[in-house]
Amino acid sequence: MTSDKSFFDFISNGLPGPELRKDADNAILPARKLAFSRFRALGLPSVKTEEWRYTNIQRFLKDSFSLAQEEGTISAEQLKLTDIPQLDSYTAVLVNGRLQPALSKLPAEGKVTISKLSDAANNTQLQLWFDKHPHLQQQPFAALNAALFADGLFIEAGVNASLDKPLHIIHIYTTTGNAFIQPRHLMVLHKSATLEIIESSVGLNETAIAFVNSVTEIVLEENAELWHYNLQISEKNSRHIYHTSTVQKADSRYHHFNFTLPSAELTRNNLSVALTGSNTETNLHGLYLATDQQHVDNHTFVDHLVPNCNSNELYKGVLLDNSNGVFTGKIHVHQDAQKTNAFQQNNNLLMSEKASINSQPQLEIYADDVKCSHGFTVGRFSEESLFYLRSRGIGEEAAKTLLVNAFAFDITDQVHIPALQDFLSEKIRKYVSGAINN
């Protein structure tokens, strides 16, 4: 299944169909086949594809990658690297997309089910939701994932269910050779269920490259609430395309946080939320801090299909060294979605001569009784603030770190878990002072 030519040519031409998966005879095979033909029809994007104009994905597919997904093993010490100090949580450890119960601290059996997706193949929720999210239909990499994913996590929270502490999902990627890894997850929160989920993605590769193409589908039934923190802290030799697609039904609340920290060389986030029930609340927060040659691309899409929904989006970027940031955020308000409140803001700090940002905040509005706005800024530190701090005896490095933390405060302040807040502040401090000293 490996080709020594570029992976791009390989998946453009010689790719085998979904039958190669072991679960080929299971209930979702027809859906996999559909997704495969969809992938064939969509083809791989280029910079001429509007959605990919600022991310030349073909450049990252030039190497060869194996589609065979190694099981991968990790040591207890390696697992320690993924710790968030002081965080009291359940854990679900996945290595290359496969759940490792022995390494995890899962909650006792109850109203919240956490299992391998492969073990849930016949679950009605999987039948109901697999690859159904409307926004995944046009995305070639999501189609590729649906056709060929190996495994992932299935979480189902029953009516009124909740956990006494957050669930920390630790995704570890470790391969011996270059690998194209495709995990797939489904989270369903039934009526009035509440969960707090932290996801960390960590790469352990030293030499080989892990290209991770993951899809997470989330369903929030009526009045459900999900706090969802995504920590993208992979090491250098990895490239990531993350799809997170959420459906929100009436009265549900979705709080999404996305932290992209140094330094996978490619991070592309496709976050989309479809509001299918009224009176929902959606908060999307993003912080990307990029160094070296990092390329961080956040695509978000909030789809207001029904009246009386509120969405609020704030993405902030700090771009150091030669890094490159992309933000494309779309708010789509359909004709029936009257009384929509939708806000979107993208602010950026360019901290180096070689860093760059491309941003496309977009409003597509078909209803008149709405309040929608977006804003974008890029700039540098206020020289005055910097001078003020320095005149009080604070060194330049410390002052800049302070100011970056202040810039990021709008986002970190919204984090409800103190241990996580501390962890993030410390990371920001470390990377900013590291970059300034370089």
Binding site: M351, P361, L363, I365, V378
Partner: protein, 481 residues
């Protein structure tokens, strides 16, 4: 020839008050587009060989290009072989004075509110009139000549100032820029030419008035304005077209060049026939307008009031090449019925300390779609560049669309770019407040819309600001309630 009563009958339909046609003898090129068409046009205009060559290069580029796909509407199927690419009023002998202009033509422009008789012209505005594709009259020419200002039709400029035309033609909008610009390069018929010499400030507004009259023709005019060092000019274009059931294509090109310390202010009041309420007919307005601030501390400012056309596709742009140069874009775009507007600007910050400001006000009513699309690009050498963009959309009714698609690309850490956009509707409480003071709803809406668009309207020369305000009110009549 018809009598004046018949002409007046033509204006009877008030919906689009400039929808009449003028019955005048025309010189029209055979239908279709090929090299022979281009040679025909060039020969008709007695052009030099170099210009024919340039046209043919444009045609070669055109043949290789496809219609764009990124815009927020489905590109109509245009059969460019069914058009005639040249239409001019006959009797185009040399005119010595306006008295020799065909009286029918003079009457047409009187009716449009554009008087060609200098004593009756709006005080202090020189007008070049383009009827179908050909410039028919330029007023105040002698007075401008005293100052060394050249203001004439493009054709005349080719004859009398070939060195200037040759030096600047296609330097801002190349013959292969995009499919419509390439088409224009191949078949452009006439247009206006302006040159303001060093240190001269034009003492009056220069203005071109465009009128499409003939059937099955496209209009492809080309305007070139050069402001030499420390020169200043304010230029205005207006346009109307008769009501016809078929769509008509308008693919113009405007090039502006501002040298050191020069300033060009370019204003457009676009009122092409928008089609009827069901979306039949109307002008396809696919226009390429671009200016370059070539010199240090130069400035180019675009102001547009777009109320007409079935489809508007235009992005008046500024290349800020000179250090400390400045670009501005002020726009009001109103769409109603089934009109489509996809318009905005592109600003390229190349030089140091360059500044730009974009103010866009979109107003959508009926079943229309109104899109702002704009690019702000800051290059690596544009230290301390600054941009501020404000894009507001106003929706009238719940069957229209208002969209904002900015593209921001910054490659310089010392640059500051800010973009803000809002979408709102006219508040019921605002209308009620005005109602309560005795102002009826339609007038209330006109007041609110004019207030909303004020920042842009204020940029227009005084005489035209008043016209534009009226136009906004008329355009929105019947859109509310």
């Amino acid at each position: 020839m018809r009598n004046s009563n018949e002409i007046i009958d033509d204006i009877a339909n008030k919906e689009y008050e400039f929808g009449f046609t003028t019955d005048i003898e025309m010189d029209i090129a055979p239908v279709g587009l090929n090299e022979d068409t281009i040679r025909f046009i060039s020969a008709k205009k007695q052009e030099p060989e170099w210009l024919l060559e340039w046209r043919l290069k444009g045609f070669q580029a055109f043949k290789k290009m496809k219609f764009p796909e990124w815009q927020h509407f489905k590109m109509p199927e245009l059969d460019l072989q069914k058009l005639s690419y040249y239409a001019a009023p006959k009797e185009k002998k040399k005119l010595n004075s306006l008295d020799e202009v065909d009286p029918e033509l003079l009457a047409t422009f009187e009716k449009l509110g554009i008087s060609l008789k200098e004593q009756k012209v709006l005080a202090g505005v020189a007008v070049d009139v383009v009827f179908d594709s050909v410039s028919v009259a330029t007023t105040y020419r002698a007075k401008l000549e005293e100052l060394g200002i050249i203001f004439c039709s493009f054709g005349e400029a080719v004859k009398h100032h070939p060195e200037l035309v040759k030096k600047y033609l296609g330097t801002v909008v190349p013959h292969s820029d995009n499919i419509f610009a390439a088409l224009n390069a191949a078949v452009f018929s006439d247009g206006s030419f302006v040159y303001i010499p060093k240190g001269v400030r034009s003492p009056m507004e220069l203005s071109t008035y465009f009128r499409i009259n003939a059937e099955n023709t496209g209009q492809f005019e080309r305007t070139l304005i050069i402001a030499d060092e420390s020169a200043y000019v304010s230029y205005l274009e207006g346009c109307t077209a008769p009501k016809r059931d078929e769509n008509q294509l308008h693919a113009a090109v405007v090039e502006l060049v501002a040298l050191d310390h020069a300033e060009i202010k370019y204003s457009t009041v676009q009122n092409w026939y928008p089609g009827d309420k069901d979306g039949n007919g109307g002008i396809f307005n696919f226009v390429t307008k671009r200016g370059i601030c070539k010199g240090n501390s130069s400035k180019i400012s675009w102001t547009q009031v777009e109320t007409g056309s079935a489809i508007t596709w235009k992005y008046p742009s500024v290349i800020l090449q000179g250090d400390n140069s400045e670009g501005e874009f002020y726009s009001v775009a109103v769409t109603r019925n089934k009109q489509i507007a996809d318009t905005g600007t592109k600003i390229y910050h190349l030089g140091k300390n360059t500044r730009s400001r974009i103010i866009s006000k979109g107003i959508s009513a009926g079943h229309s779609d109104n899109t702002y699309r704009g690019l702000v690009q800051v290059g690596p050498r544009a230290a301390n560049a600054r941009n501020y963009t404000q894009c507001d959309s106003l929706l009238i009714g719940d069957r229209c669309g208002a969209h904002t698609f900015p593209y921001i690309e910054s490659r310089n850490s010392t640059a500051t770019v800010e973009h803000e956009a809002t979408t709102s509707k006219i508040g019921e409480d605002q209308i009620f407040y005005l109602n309560q003071r005795g102002i009826e709803t339609e007038k209330a809406v006109a007041l609110i819309v004019n207030g909303y668009a004020k920042e842009v309207l204020n940029q227009l020369p005084m005489e035209f600001a008043v016209e534009a305000q009226k136009l906004l009110s008329i355009t929105l009549e019947g859109s509310v309630g």
